[in-house]
């Protein structure tokens, strides 16, 4: 009897386990109903699942964009379901390596973090991909960067920061992260008298500002917007986008070096939320993917849902992404040396 009960419990646990795995896709709507006409014999997506690689854990910004876009994209393509495949690790590298090595049949696509351009420029060995060779599908949104300063800081504007003789402390994420490199490059471009304190992940930098430990941080505008809206700080500089009443970094540029660096940060900001297919994907398949992606990002229903989820949309085509990536990769040795110095271990 006991044996039977045990077997029954084990069986139900295993059944439950497999059910919860399936649950991850259970809420994805089937796309075939809405695209009955597209299920022709020439549609390679018909009856297939679209595998969408996300290079972070579930729950982050990349994940949110992928889940939302994926649901609509698979409908437009005439596929069955979208399968979100979260492959975190190594600061987006593990997932991007996986995307690079995936079969280039159009059924696997993925998010790519533009900050990896930094890693490729300085030749990080664990990168198994060449970011300039991905087949770019499109961009959902940019991620403009801004320099936020707390209300208690001794400098309150970019002019004051440029003239400051006192060392100003800025928080950033870990050394080698895109946030750290952005901040380091900005400091180099304008020769700022700042001390970068690394290791503040997520919104920890804002708490540090509230505690009065650091003066500010340079990061994505959207992530610090609630902090600014609550009256704890204000933006003094922006790169790669427009924030009302906040000067653009280009207004303070006075040297070629500064111009190149600001342009690089701007290009990476532009490439905020991009999606790619593995290199060598058939041009016809790419055309279908790009069309469906563009149609998704212009779908009123999609836009309403994105707005509800507070996910800004600023779409661009795969061609535009390709050009931006190529431009960002084309850096003089001086800029590459600055990036390399920023992460060099003494």
């Amino acid at each position: 009897m006991l044996k039977k009960i045990t077997i029954l419990i084990l069986f139900s646990l295993l059944a439950g386990c497999s059910q919860s795995s399936n649950d991850s896709n259970a809420n994805q709507p089937s796309g075939s109903a809405e695209t009955a006409g597209s299920s022709s014999s020439g549609n390679i997506f018909a009856g297939e699942n679209l595998n969408y690689i996300v290079t972070t854990n579930a729950g982050g910004g990349y994940d949110a964009y992928a889940r939302l876009i994926g649901r609509y994209l698979v409908k437009k393509l005439g596929g069955d379901n979208v399968v979100i495949n979260n492959i975190p690790g190594g600061g987006h590298i593990v997932g991007t390596n996986t995307l690079w090595k995936s079969k280039a049949d159009g059924l696997t696509i993925g998010t790519v973090n533009a900050g990896l351009i930094y890693n490729q420029l300085i030749g990080v060995k664990t990168l198994q991909f060449d970011i300039s060779k991905f087949s770019w599908i499109g961009k959902a949104a940019g991620e403009p960067r801004s320099l936020v300063i707390s209300e208690d800081c001794q400098v309150q504007s970019m002019e004051e920061l440029l003239a400051s003789v006192e060392v100003i402390k800025l928080a950033s994420a870990g050394v080698g992260s895109a946030s750290y490199l952005d901040t380091k490059l900005l400091a180099e471009a304008f020769d700022l008298n700042v001390d970068i304190i690394p290791g503040f992940e997520g919104n920890e930098g804002e708490m540090s500002m509230m505690r009065g430990e650091v003066c500010g941080q340079f990061g994505t505008t959207s992530s610090v917007q609630p902090f600014v809206d609550s009256g704890y700080g204000h933006f003094i500089l922006t790169v790669g986008g427009e924030v009302e009443g906040v000067p653009n970094a280009m207004e303070f540029v006075s040297t070629d070096k500064a111009r190149r660096i600001v342009s690089l940060i701007g290009a990476l900001s532009e490439l905020g939320r991009v999606t790619a297919a593995p290199p060598g994907t058939d041009p016809e398949v790419m055309e279908r993917l790009r069309e469906a992606y563009t149609a998704t990002l212009n779908d009123p229903e999609f836009l309403a849902e994105a707005e509800k989820m507070k996910l800004p949309i600023d779409a661009a085509s795969g061609d535009t992404v390709d050009q931006l990536v190529m431009a960002a990769m084309n850096q003089p040795q001086e800029t590459i040396d600055i990036i390399a110095d920023s992460v060099r271990v003494e």
Binding site: S20, S21, G59, E206, M207
Partner: protein, 493 residues
Amino acid sequence: MNVIGSPYNMGMLLLAVPIGMFFGAIPGLGGKLGIVMMIPFVFGMDPIAGAIFLISMHAVVHTGGSVPSILFGVPGTGADAATVVDGLPMTRNGEAGRAMGASLGASGVGGVIGGLFLICILPVLRPVILAFSPAEFFMLAIFGITFIAMLSGNSLVKGLLVGFFGLMLSFVSLDPNTGAERYTFGLLFLWDGMDIITVILAMFAIPEMIALGVEGGSMSLAGKQKGTAGYKGVFTGLLDVFRHWGLTLRTSIMGAFIGMIPGLGGDAATWICYGHAIQSSKNPEKFGKGAVEGVIAPETANNSKEGGSLLPTLFFAVPGSSGMAILLGAFVMLGIQPGPAMALTGMDIVWTLIWALMIANIVAVFFFIAFVPMLGYLSYVRGSLLIPFVLALTFLGAFLGHRSWENLIVLFVLGGFAYFLKKYGWPRPPFVIGIILGPIAEDSYHKAFQLWGYEFLLRPGALIMIALIIGSVGFYIWKSTRPKKEGVVEYVG
């Protein structure tokens, strides 16, 4: 009223509780993976209903998590591992039912007291949370590390060696200060450090299963007639929670408080509370041999810390635990924007979630109580039937976290090592303390040093923490050197 007043929301809560407990009960799955898997389910749902579902599910993960810890010595997470130390010996002694009853009661009471504590602290939340800077995080981590002494059993030297080995393994990652690869041997999967779930499974699950295979028999060494796997044992365990009401109250509040301080991490809460139980006990020699207080303390903290960690998540958008980090992202996906503005515009959501948290903890007790006696009988299942099942779940757990097959190698190698630790009587809990608190100590030290130099040690908060550490260690030494009534402190894990 958003919870009880709405049948739909209450339905969501009732649906979430068994799912959360299921994820907690399967080693290696845990609450984080549970939320990850449930994100598609709540995607597009009404924000309040979705948030109630997720928080209720997350609130009771550790209620379920105590089952494999107590029955098989297989914890699903670092936080659940503290329950193994006394929970497993209770099972061995034929007291699986009592242990699970105590764990169930402690989880429920801890969750509710934790919630009430949060309500009380809400008016002064901001200054309290902001009083903890990297300097205080560092001292808190050191405070936790001193508990290695209390978890070392009869040999401090063995405990320290194992603890330092844990600390050493915590350095495997990219250096947070320089970005340099540290003991990663060029392997990408080690960049983010050792996967805690894999390490915990290797240290506890693998050795217990090898030992069971070698020794034969079942997890319970006592005969069925002597055991307390039935309702009688469960109710004895439930009553134990109220019998030790002082400990229950203290560890509930400590858990909620530690959970509330972002930077220390939820796993630390259970171990610090377990250490406190030993430290404050009149009979510390019972710990590690099946002391019910050793189950009550970590289990109250396990559930109360989740409530604690909810507050910084909502008000500062800084998660107090790794589970809350994923929950934070899920909230944003639901259209709830945690952050400083929450205090101005989102108090309705805050109250709803705190109530959901407490109600879920109560519901979990009633829900689970029916199954506990049946689960208790699993401790009498023959090892040959049990081992393949537990090992399969262990491998699954190690793989799923990062979907990396390399973790299976870590599981084998470290599991083999842990078996020999067990076989030759070396304590394993200090290892967990080392690997959990090492990164917190290192990260906060770097930040504190860069912000203030060595003067960070002279900050008022840090000085209070130093006094607490000296007092705590001194008190323990004084207690340990007093003549004992019986035997010596011995850890059997």
